[in-house]
Symmetry: C2
Subunit: 458 residues, 2 copies
């Protein structure tokens, strides 16, 4: 939205830059990114030898905040690199003096105070690892910046109508009250804007370095006593509590967002360039179907109807396939995420980006109204885990593992590895198999296990 | 969608016409509708004397299906007429011979069979009573027709890919299975299409007779052992069961659909003709706010942010106000419904219709998986009731009234009257007051009480 930070940053300042890499000044385009694993994974500079799909965790000598666990494994030769990325850090938000205007910003130097948040994120790249790497470098900076922009409102009991705190109209607090606007809504808004800004950054970076690709983004932020989970894509976060499972995200796929996608094609048919049909059918239609009535859905339908097949209906459907096979424009398996600015449908001039959304859905969990037990954890994982394990299975592994490993100081790291191992399975001949002899996950798998009971420790 | 039925009907045929009124043939435009109350209300041709806001019910000598109760009251001089309307009937759906093509329709004459559905609906008109009257005349015909169009699929255990039943591709049943398509999905689709067709009919009727206005629509259909509730507007239906309340609809207002409405304005800014701002603010902005950062939301935000106010932000907001005061384009209090094809923002050329949706959200209740008790009922009511009574209060009235009136054969009618009386309150001086001395409802109020235990009786 603001872009100002980005512009300043691309000019070479301010000092506070993502990743600590040298600032790209004016002049030749920045070089392409070097591939890397997350910084907290030992030997993170390079990919592990892939044949055995060894599970890697965080370095025990540099524990993650709250003693959180992390583990990952590369895919089974689906792509050259592990296209998942992970990030984890504290976010310090500079608290502004109430009533201070931006041009008086120097005054803050005398009275700086910080609010601290904790951040964990997973990114699942596609079409190359680069978008996920950029996102893992920058998203927390975008979040930090967006939180700082509204921090004057967050620290008040009720956000003021005017960020400056000045009351232009006596009944302003009443209007804000009536709309039920709370500090948490500003954090949600900041996350929504941060994803959008990060998407912009990725678009510009990828264009400057002539790279392509995109990634999903799942980010958890603990801030001011609440947990915010922002999701754009098909990763997933769940809370595994003593007696319940609380889903903290939902997946955005061509299937789950069919109506939004079809509606856009209805409003702007040119986006399909005559190559796709916006209707959904249970299967791809063929010549024999023409003239007959077949099952279909249009953008406004949650139910199904019958439609007489015309020749135009034989085109490839905008949203097609089922489950993991569902594709947007025959190209992408997710409908939200970051990047993909240059992505076109193969052999056509049709852009995919207009149908994608970079806006996350944010779910909030308020710790002040829940009694958190010692073994309660937040599980965040890319689709590699959830493709083969459902919420109940994951919760079962979590509870039994933690009950059996009460004293191990590395128990959350070990649990993360255990979950990744479960989903990766074991190699039997050329196949990766689960214990129950179903097929295991051939995808990249990344898992955070975040103990909630430790949240005020740091 | 098809429009064929409408075209045939406007040409003067077929015999099966809504309402039984004379068919408008070619020639002069049809005369404007005569105002009327629902047919099942005694003296239904005219409005009751309004001063006392007498509550009227259905005629006891002509009981409604299932012994359902109905009651209504006119508003407190808000408009000349009671702009609510109600409808209630059986819907007979002609079952087609499987494999029969449309040009073999004459064959059906030899083997006609019917599936029977039950239908109740409420319509809350605005800008005049006409749209609600047309909708109450026609919506059930649209539903009947849309159900007949797909009946070949509804009567199968699993809807066939081809309505004809022919299997063009051996794995067709598998594709349908994979997409989880059941007979109920065809009914949902038929309802969605029926609302759209009814909206088209209303648009053409209103244009032909030079009338304006629109209405909300809440329709309940009992069909093949399931209850379908389709809602477009701010009426509401709930199931009051022995131990629980099941909401069967949600309201569509400028507030609840803010993001959809703002997104459309983002995609097509011309729709606002430079007169409105698409942003939401807690209050209307004024000159003093310019240059300052104030709370705002854009289409992609569920949270709030701060925005530096520009002069353009002083325009009237696309969605403005809170609760019952919320308005779309300063004009309409609902965001879905039928009609309003000609509606423009006063003193401008800005059309409201593009922002409205006529598509209902359909909720399904499957009786085969619920044990229905004798006093379990479906309550349908226009916003006049729900503005002053919440679900819990209504459920409390329902349960205590039915417990105290076990043997009265008119108990469901009496309960409907009781609910309307509660919401209308009593006149004290010039005011209508509830028992708890809060203000009562000044709106039109209409209520159906539908006993679910009687559903297989007719």
């Amino acid at each position: 939205m603001s872009g100002e930070w980005l512009r300043r940053w691309r000019r070479g300042g301010p000092a506070e830059r993502p990743g600590g890499a040298p600032a790209p000044g004016p002049g030749p385009p920045p070089p392409a990114l070097r591939y890397r694993r997350p910084k907290f994974v030992p030997g993170g500079g390079e990919e592990a030898p892939r044949g055995g799909r060894a599970v890697r965790g965080a370095a025990p000598e540099r524990p993650l905040p709250w003693g959180a666990g992390y583990a990952e494994v590369i895919n089974a030769e689906k792509s050259e690199f592990n296209e998942d990325q992970a990030a984890c850090c504290q976010i310090s938000v500079r608290r502004r003096e109430p009533g201070l205007e931006e041009d008086e910003e120097w005054l803050i130097l005398c009275s700086t105070q910080f609010l601290t948040g904790h951040y964990w994120a997973l990114f699942d790249g596609h079409g190359g690892p680069d978008a996920a790497i950029i996102a893992s470098n920058y998203l927390h900076y975008c979040i930090k910046q967006k939180l700082e922009e509204v921090v004057g409102g967050i620290t008040e009991a009720q956000p003021p109508m005017h960020l400056s705190g000045r009351c232009v109209c006596d009944s302003d607090p009443q209007f804000v009250e009536e709309k039920h606007i709370h500090a948490a809504d500003l954090v949600v808004g900041a996350l929504e804007n941060a994803f959008q800004e990060c998407d912009e950054v990725i678009g510009q970076e990828m264009e400057a370095t002539n790279q392509t690709g995109g990634c999903t983004a799942l980010a958890a932020l603990y801030f001011q006593g609440k947990l915010y989970v922002a999701n754009a894509g098909d990763s997933r976060a769940i809370l595994v509590l003593k007696d319940s499972i609380v889903p903290m995200s939902s997946e955005f796929t061509p299937e789950s967002e069919r109506q939004r996608i079809q509606h856009l094609a209805f409003l702007f048919p040119k986006l399909l360039d005559g190559e796709f049909t916006r209707f959904e059918f249970p299967r791809r239609l063929k010549g024999d179907d023409v003239g007959h009535k077949v099952l279909y859905r249009d953008y406004f339908m949650e139910g199904w109807g019958y439609k007489t097949v015309e020749k135009a209906d034989l085109k490839y459907p905008l949203v097609h396939g089922h489950g993991k096979q569902a594709r947007l424009l025959g190209t992408l398996a997710v409908s939200r995420g970051l990047g993909d600015h240059q992505l076109k449908v193969i052999d056509t001039n049709i852009e995919v980006k207009p149908f994608l959304s970079c806006i996350p859905k944010v779910n909030v969990f308020d710790f002040s109204v829940h009694d958190i037990k010692e073994d309660d954890v937040l599980i965040m994982a890319t689709d590699g885990l959830w493709d083969v394990l459902c919420n109940d299975e994951v919760a079962h592994v979590v509870r039994s593992f933690l009950a059996e490993n009460r004293t191990d100081p590395q128990r959350f790291s070990e649990l993360a590895k255990c979950l990744v191992c479960r989903a990766r399975g074991k190699k039997r001949g050329h196949q990766w198999m689960l214990d129950d002899s179903h097929e295991a996950s051939y995808d990249d798998i990344s898992v955070f296990v975040i103990p909630l009971h430790n949240r005020e420790e740091d």
